[in-house]
């Protein structure tokens, strides 16, 4: 896997995202898969910067990825204390539809083939099959 350690800020994250998306496109993944990966990666990185590292620019993000002809695997880790994704309420539940937050994990689950929290809950592993 290719490993990237980057500062916990949006500019650095965008460059890393483009690097990963470039690898996806170079492998000939369909545009639907690229769309799904871009969206999920954005959600994972936003969560890591905002909730994991709590906006602290002195903290780091750790990205690992591999892209082959079968699947793309991307891991995003932060320096936070981790969390239990089961504790995140369903954003489509009655009364929650008009809440502005809390849809990132739902979108990752909808668009990825696998979404798994590992470590102490401070790393998310995303898998998208090529076909």
């Amino acid at each position: 896997m290719i490993e990237l350690e980057i500062p916990s800020d949006l500019g650095a994250a965008q460059a890393a995202e483009e690097q990963i998306l470039h690898a996806i496109e170079a492998r000939g993944y369909r545009s639907e898969a690229a769309f799904a990966i871009r969206l999920s990666l954005e959600e994972a990185i936003t969560n890591a910067i905002k909730h994991g590292n709590k906006g602290d620019r002195n903290k780091r993000l750790y990205l690992r990825y591999s892209v082959d002809d079968e699947k793309a695997v991307i891991c995003v880790a932060d320096e936070g204390s981790g969390f239990d994704p089961k504790g995140v309420p369903d954003p489509t539940a009655p009364g929650r539809l008009s809440m502005p937050n809390g849809r990132g994990i739902m979108l990752m689950r909808a668009y990825m083939d696998e979404v798994e929290y590992t470590g102490r809950g401070n790393e998310v592993r995303l898998v998208k099959k090529k076909n």
């Binding site: 949006l10 994250a13 965008q14 639907e32 769309f35 871009r38 969206l39 954005e42 959600e43 936003t46 905002k50 954003p91 489509t92 539809l97 008009s98 809440m99 502005p100 937050n101 809390g102 849809r103 990132g104 739902m106 979108l107 909808a110």
Partner: protein, 118 residues
Amino acid sequence: MPEAKSNLRITDEGNAKMVEFVDRKILDELTITQIGERLSELVASEPNPRLLLNFKNVEHLSSAALGMLITLDRQVKEKQGRLKLSNIRPQILEVFKITRLNRLFEIYESAEEAIQSY
């Protein structure tokens, strides 16, 4: 002083103000915060804001952008205005459907249709 690069194009369509997103991607928090602030100013400047957001250029949208739209919708409703969305590509419409926000927002296929419906 040159104006800062704007990521919104705003036109008066008679029945409503139409806002076109210039960017293909509405993903990162910084861009979304800027867009949200500009749209909030627009809502604040109108007595009964009638706002149409035209998504024809938008190819990528994140959950943070959805959050911004929800907040904007609330601001518009507080002023007895109406917020409508149009020209959403199928791939983006899917994001609204997954999150069931297609039930919260008034979504039209074309800008013309949306403007006529005010």
